[in-house]
């Protein structure tokens, strides 16, 4: 119970120290439908925070609001960066682009960095830097491949390299492992974990995949238009919470493997669910 109380006091804006960013009453309305309804959540500094929720819950919308792509009501603050907007690296869910476009991976990674046009190729210094970044995501062999000829997993790594090339303080990923098989997904997440630890960025990702979240996330935000629960995965990913959010029994999460197996969620909006028990 003590732990529960401590978690409850970590609700955003009451204690913003150690938090990279806070969503404060963020609402988004599109075409008369309220997609996000006063979302309050925080992302701890240096954490791997996962946003989970059913389809249409507004997960991607929340990321787009953060990226400034959508108008929203409310406030998004960055207490961990002295109030200024951090450098954000973004890995989109699916890059829908013209696959017939002749563009090498090296050129793609140089687009946002090289001032001079690509007509005369990529500068030697940038080529070197690009190779180094690709090596970080174990994809140096893709340097001169055509972007349109990459497989889903390869493209994912290149997009991660593009985000890393910006030396992000906050890395935002939308379904980082969609379109990648289970093995590939696990490897991708391990890679992300290692990079996060070595480079010290804060990671915020949307995920559908509960096993991935249980293995890799250090903080979870359950979203279904509102924040249904928030906290460390062992506290949040309880069968009660998951069935409340997803509307069905989630047998995938092995609670035995979690240290705080039976702890309930502390978020205020979660309380009615707990009371019923």
């Amino acid at each position: 119970m003590d732990l529960n109380k401590r978690q409850a006091s970590a609700v955003p804006q009451q204690n913003s120290a150690g938090q990279a960013l806070c969503f404060v009453d963020v609402s988004v309305e599109r075409g008369g439908i309220r997609i996000l309804d006063e979302v309050r959540a925080a992302v701890p500094m240096g954490s791997c925070t996962a946003i989970i929720g059913p389809n249409g819950a507004g997960k991607t919308t929340l990321l787009l609001a953060l990226l400034g792509e959508l108008p929203y009501q409310g406030h998004i603050s960055f207490p961990g960066y002295g109030g200024r907007r951090p450098r954000i690296g973004y890995v989109p869910q699916r890059l829908s682009f013209d696959r017939g476009l002749p563009l090498t991976v090296c050129e793609f990674l140089a687009l946002g960095f090289q001032a001079g046009p690509l007509w005369f190729g990529v500068s030697a210094a940038l080529q070197k830097k690009t190779k180094e970044t690709l090596a970080q995501v174990k994809a140096e062999h893709l340097t001169s491949r055509r972007l349109g000829a990459l497989s889903g997993g390869e493209l994912q790594r290149v997009l991660l390299a593009l985000a890393l090339q910006q030396q992000p303080e906050l890395l935002v990923l939308d379904e980082p492992a969609s379109g990648v098989d289970f093995q590939g997904e696990h490897v991708f997440c391990e890679l992300l974990d290692a990079l996060r630890l070595s480079q010290g960025f804060t990671q915020l990702m949307v995920s559908h995949d509960l096993p991935t979240v249980t293995h890799h996330a250090t903080h979870v935000i359950c979203l279904n238009h509102r924040v249904a629960a928030e906290g460390p995965p062992q506290l949040v990913l309880t069968p009660e919470n998951l069935s409340a959010i997803f509307g069905l029994h989630m047998g995938l999460v092995n609670l035995q493997s979690m240290p705080m197996a039976q702890a309930g969620c502390t978020a205020p909006c979660c309380q009615p669910v707990n009371e019923k028990q």
Binding site: E69, L101, P102, E107, L111, L118
Partner: protein
């Protein structure tokens, strides 16, 4: 008095063909050598942004530009590019602020422009006769003043592209990604649309309303098949466009051909495209 005489004389010496000894042919060649690289480079971005239909709508607004000139007794040389610019920026603004699909927005503009232009033209018989010039273009009657303006546009286009080519490519691939990289996509789109509108209006003068989009799209499309990198695609588009313009002009002046210059240029470019298709197929096999 004629500042470009040295250039025309130089062309006459470099190309000692009988057809190239006429001043109007020399002027046409200079105009095409300015126009073709511009359309090639801008065409790559047009293909990348899928703006072929946009270019088509601008070119068809040429009718209205001319008609407005007649209405207000101003030279069409001014009203055409100005009106094109206005239509280009108008379409971009409506596309940004409307939920309609972009081809629907352009379709509405396109029909309105064309209908208004044709309505105006149909009132005036002398203008109706002039329309053929706009439909097929007439590079052979290009004036010295127009060549100077093309030169100015040439510098504008290449300064803009040299400083923004990568960002345009980025925004064309994925605008959200580009924005997180601090690319100001909105401003870029307006600037590009404005410049493209001016370029299209000048190309209408050279190649005609009906074929102007081809001058933008065909070299870029051929270049896509020939190249494997963005750098190579740029140079291929340049080579296809410029060689088609020069060859098209020379062929159209031959006694055995005597074809419209604009159409001949596009035909040569289309040969290039077919060759690029064959190469792409060979590569795949």
């Amino acid at each position: 008095m004629n500042d470009l005489v040295w250039l025309y004389d130089f062309i006459a010496q470099v190309l000692p063909l009988s057809s190239m000894q006429a001043r109007f042919m020399q002027q046409a060649l200079v105009a095409l050598l300015l126009l073709a690289p511009m359309t090639a480079a801008m065409g790559i971005v047009v293909v990348n942004f899928r703006m072929a239909f946009f270019a088509e709508a601008i070119s068809h607004s040429a009718f209205t530009g001319v008609a407005l000139g007649m209405l207000f007794a101003v030279s069409p040389g001014w009203t055409m590019p100005l009106f094109g610019l206005l239509v280009g920026l108008g379409i971009t603004a409506v596309q940004r602020h409307s939920d309609l699909a972009s081809d629907t927005v352009i379709g509405v503009f396109f029909s309105a422009m064309l209908a208004f232009g044709l309505a105006m033209v149909s009132r005036d018989r002398s203008l109706a006769r002039d329309m053929q010039r706009f439909l097929y273009g007439d590079i052979l009657t290009i004036s010295e003043a127009e060549i100077w303006f093309l030169l100015l546009l040439f510098f504008l286009v290449f300064i803009f592209l040299a400083s923004n080519y990568n960002r345009l490519l980025y925004a064309g691939i994925n605008s959200t990604l580009a924005r997180t990289h601090r690319v100001r996509v909105q401003i870029l789109q307006y600037l590009f649309s404005g410049l493209l509108a001016l370029l299209v209006m000048f190309s209408v003068r050279a190649i005609g309303v009906l074929l102007v989009t081809a001058l933008l799209v065909v070299p870029a499309a051929g270049a896509r098949n020939f190249s494997r990198s963005a750098g190579a695609m740029f140079w291929w588009a340049m080579a296809i466009s410029t060689s088609s313009a020069v060859l098209g002009l020379l062929i159209s002046a031959q006694d055995w051909a005597r074809t419209a210059t604009g159409a001949t240029i596009i035909l040569v470019a289309c040969f290039w495209f077919v060759a690029s298709l064959l190469l792409a197929r060979l590569r795949r096999n």
